[in-house]
Symmetry: C2
Amino acid sequence: MSRVVAERQDVITMLAEIFREHGYDGASLSLITEKTGLGKGSLYHFFPRGKEEMAEAVLGDIASWFQTNIFNRLRNSEPPAAAIDDMFASVDSYFRQGRRLCLMGVIATSGAHDRFSAELNRYFADWRTALAEAFGRQGIAEDERKALAEEVIGGIQGALILARSLGDPQAFGRVLTRLKARCTLSHN
Amino acid sequence: MSRVVAERQDVITMLAEIFREHGYDGASLSLITEKTGLGKGSLYHFFPRGKEEMAEAVLGDIASWFQTNIFNRLRNSEPPAAAIDDMFASVDSYFRQGRRLCLMGVIATSGAHDRFSAELNRYFADWRTALAEAFGRQGIAEDERKALAEEVIGGIQGALILARSLGDPQAFGRVLTRLKARCTLSHN
DNA sequence: CAAGGTCTGTACCGATCGGTAAACAATTTA
DNA sequence: TAAATTGTTTACCGATCGGTACAGACCTTG
């Protein structure tokens, strides 16, 4: 219905990229107004509590994307092996083959970490739960599930940092392939 | 010889912890003066180019610590399996069983990333080279070495983020144990 | 003890920070 | 069409930013 210039969702999408690229503290309001093309007035219209609310909105948006496209599919898709393959494909695409950082990781390693600890905790805990559950349906032992899920999710985060630091996005794909292999042939 | 109140090395050690905790952009000069107990005058005496030089000094200090205590031992210790075990023990201790972040990762995910890309690249590339070389002496195939090194180093980085985000430092140890197992029984 | 470097605290600089106020345009509703 | 709501611009606020200047304390030499 609304045909205004800027939808809140569009702003959130732009904010996500800005926070990803510059971090929470590095994303100043002047940088945000410049990159979004919106004045402070518009920004504070959408996010009355300012920068913190912007970040909350972005994190919430990301969390719900992962819920829909990753966690829920891990829970519902059959067979579980295909669900897990799907997860790796979605992750590779979402993180642009290693050229994009994970905003959750960016926030977790920033000074603003404390302010968003609830969101961070939920994101990683939900992912671990969903992945471990898929492992369970794959017949992996109870004890092994959570540990393997942590190895995989941590591995993804670390691979993003590695790819960026080495200036070699392909390193992300290489690690991803190995992690995937580790999931499918779960003999250990 | 010198018995001044604050040695440059002491300052660097404190700076490292401040940057780790608050990130590059989050570590303001007023926070630094507060945490170190040093006035701006002292800080700019040690680091005339200011904050950027402080970070360079810290990154250099960390790089040389890893060269000495991790990379060189990976290259020289025998047998290679013991060298790799040592690496995991040192890493676990250095990162305080998952309670401490890696400053290289912190910088890599911050907006200041570009300013320190050379240091980041060298750190991760050196680590990968040294670890892959140890794998070579262990008889791991040429093609496999680099890939396994990336999996392990990335896994360490990611485990730190995971541990912090979950508020569960022990997650770091759990992942570390699995990565170590993956190195020693390298049958694959 | 005098001199010169090594350190340190304080005051200050212009720029930018996150945030607020209010006038105004545009759109939707009555 | 009039009123109310929604969205945007602009100017401005006090606080803090990173950095500089400089006087003086401290320490080591001659």
